[in-house]
């Protein structure tokens, strides 16, 4: 019984330590609570109001009006395409950066980073210039004799994809690079020495081991794409309308804050549903925990 005071002292010390950690955690908690939790709550509240009463009319409209649910479908489709294209472009880049020597690797990653230092607005206008009827792409292709009439590359779906992929590739490359550079080079050597050709080793060794990065990158890109506003608005020429444009129109043109809130909430719910579904198929912990 003599050592009981010591035990108490240890418990007290542990509690004090925990309080310390809590204190460090507090600023972040406040920030998220005040600037994310609270506005989100208000948004949810607003989406359920019609006049001075609670109502589901804003949500009902989303299902009733084709323009609404078609916009959701378009947004999902664009996001999916951008994700796939970002994988196709980002995987080789990430792989190259992961296997290259230090110097080359730094160079590749720096080039991937470079667009980050330019604002999305500037980049989008730059694409507009590059892709227009008499832009550099068309004039080069005509000069080379590959095409006779200029391709319509701007103010359409293609332009939206190009612009969005350009913004999104870095978000795919970095998680992929992190995953691939963690794969020991011997594993790939082993794959080859055991008789695996390039494709076999890619399919059976590299791809499964890069999956956590591929998954993280894809989720990141896809979710970011769902909320895109500027790029599709400017490059799409009004033909490709994303959910964010719908929100903007409801607010700016029709002053329908309730409708805008409902549209935004609906998008949030779709994202959460996708997360939940993906987690059911490919449990995140299992992928991340895989050594």
């Amino acid at each position: 019984m003599t050592d009981l005071p010591m035990e108490d002292a240890i418990t007290r010390a542990e509690r004090a330590e925990q309080r310390g950690y809590l204190l460090l955690f507090l600023p972040a908690l406040l920030l998220v609570g005040l600037f994310l939790g609270l506005p989100l709550g208000l948004l949810a509240f607003q989406s359920l109001r019609e006049g001075d009463a609670f109502s589901l009319v804003h949500y009902a409209r989303i299902f009733e009006e084709p323009i609404y649910w078609r916009t959701y479908a378009d947004t999902l489709r664009v996001s999916l395409w951008v994700t796939l294209l970002a994988i196709a472009l980002g995987f080789p880049l990430a792989y190259a950066a992961a296997i290259a020597s230090r110097g080359w690797s730094t160079l590749i990653l720096a080039l991937v980073m470079l667009p980050f230092w330019t604002s999305v607005l500037v980049r989008t206008y730059a694409w507009l210039v590059v892709l227009q009827r008499k832009g550099i792409v068309n004039s080069t292709l005509i000069a080379l004799g590959i095409i006779e009439q200029p391709l319509s590359l701007s103010h359409n779906y293609t332009a939206v994809l190009i612009g969005m992929v350009h913004v999104m590739v870095p978000f795919m490359v970095f998680p992929l690079y992190a995953a691939i550079s963690k794969i020991p080079a011997e594993l790939l050597q082993a794959g080859h020495s055991l008789g695996g050709g390039a494709f076999h080793v890619f399919r059976r060794v590299l791809l499964p081991l890069a999956l956590p990065g591929l998954f993280a990158g894809s989720v990141l890109v896809f979710i970011l794409c769902l909320g895109f506003y500027l790029t599709p608005e400017l490059l799409g020429g009004g033909k490709t309308i994303m959910v964010s444009s719908l929100v903007q129109r409801n607010v700016e043109l029709y002053l329908q804050f309730g409708a805008a809130s409902a549209v935004a909430m609906m998008l949030l719910m779709i994202v959460m549903l996708i997360f939940w579904g993906v987690d059911r198929i490919l449990p995140v912990e299992k992928i991340v925990g895989m050594r």
């Binding site: 011997e186 082993a190 055991l194 695996g196 059976r204």
Partner: protein
């Protein structure tokens, strides 16, 4: 194994340069089918580069690699049919034990029922029957080692390459695995090239050992030959536990160390000489006159350290050289143990008197 695919391996004047650095400076090596050859050398001697070239992971700057009569110098690794056991095993973490072992068979499009049979047989041959479904993460170091081995032999390769495969294991397990590798080698009749920096490991398992230094093979010999007839001071220093002491040539087969004249088993090489005094070949003796075929040295006992199976005593020879002797630590020896600071005589068999030329 019904029919062996194992081939002889011939390296012909292999060189490898990286910019200004020459990692290999003309290495030639002939390995018979079924032979176990170790490539022994300190880090930076080029042994890993040589292994990478044999495996096809790196191309030589010049020279050729033959498997049997076939020139494989330009073949990529996947066309060489080599079972490689990597230093850290390089097991695929996302696959089970059986899937790892099946990998080379799948790559060769072996029919599934054959795969199952051969995986089961490979697992039995490394004493891991019943472990097929386990994930790699759940295996101990020794078990991973066995899986790597099973994966390397399951597709009946032409050659097995091993890159310090035991270095991650603790001492007891390492020694047990050495014996297992020996018997597996005998059982398979495999041509094995084994890279290591551990001389004891090389001596334990190999038919022949190639000692490398600075991109060249300095000596290739049987373990016994390497131990008793090293070609120069580098090999003598690297193999066994020896202290090199400069000696003076006093005859065709005699050298002087301090005041002692020592007989040698063979004619001496030209040039500067030194003697490699191996701690375990020096025996404490009394003052009785030396028997024929015995060399004697005198010195003062320094520190005595208990190391388990033996005691290691330092001995200051006349003339200042400090050498080590080993005394088995059983109690028959306890009475005869010299005290620190006492004057003792040690004898050395002429056949164990290793005198080598000093290289620059």
């Amino acid at each position: 194994m019904t029919q062996s695919n194992f081939v002889p391996v011939r390296l012909q004047d292999i060189t490898k340069s990286y910019h200004d650095f020459q990692a290999l400076k003309g290495v030639s090596l002939d390995i018979a089918a079924g032979e176990f050859v170790s490539i022994l050398g300190p880090s930076g001697s080029g042994k890993t580069t040589l292994l990478q070239i044999i495996g096809g992971f790196t191309r030589p700057s010049a020279g050729r690699v033959f498997f049997g009569d076939a020139d494989v110098t330009l073949l990529p690794p996947q066309k060489r049919d080599i079972g490689v056991v990597f230093q850290n095993y390089a097991l695929f973490p996302h696959l089970s034990v059986a899937e790892n072992i099946a990998f080379p068979l799948r790559a060769r499009k072996t029919p599934p029922e054959r795969i199952q049979q051969r995986v089961a047989r490979a697992l039995r041959s490394v004493d891991l029957a019943g472990y097929g479904d386990r994930p790699i993460a759940n295996l101990s170091g020794g078990q991973r080692q066995r899986v790597a081995l099973a994966r390397a032999i399951v597709f009946e390769p032409r050659l097995i390459l091993m890159d310090e495969p035991l270095s991650a294991l603790d001492k007891n397990l390492r020694e047990a695995m050495q014996m297992e590798l020996r018997s597996l080698h005998a059982e398979l009749g495999a041509t094995i090239i084994y890279v290591t920096h551990d001389q004891r490991e090389a001596l334990t398992m190999s038919d022949r050992v190639a000692v490398m230094k600075a991109g060249r093979i300095v000596q290739i010999d049987t373990p016994r030959g390497l131990y008793s007839r090293p070609v120069n001071d580098f090999v003598a220093d690297f193999v066994g536990e020896s202290t090199l002491v400069p000696v003076e040539r006093v005859g065709v087969r005699a050298v002087r160390l301090g005041s002692a004249v020592l007989g040698c088993p063979r004619d001496l090489a030209p040039g500067q000489l030194c003697i490699a005094l191996q701690a375990e070949t020096l025996l404490l003796c009394g003052d009785e006159p030396a028997e024929p075929g015995t060399n004697c040295l005198e010195g003062t006992v320094g520190e005595i350290v208990f190391q388990g199976e033996s005691l290691k005593a330092s001995l200051a020879l006349q003339g200042g050289a400090e050498i080590a002797i080993r005394i088995p630590s059983h109690h028959f020896n306890a009475r005869a143990l010299p005290a620190s600071g006492s004057q003792v005589r040690v004898k050395l068999h002429v056949e164990d008197t290793v005198v080598v030329p000093v290289t620059a």
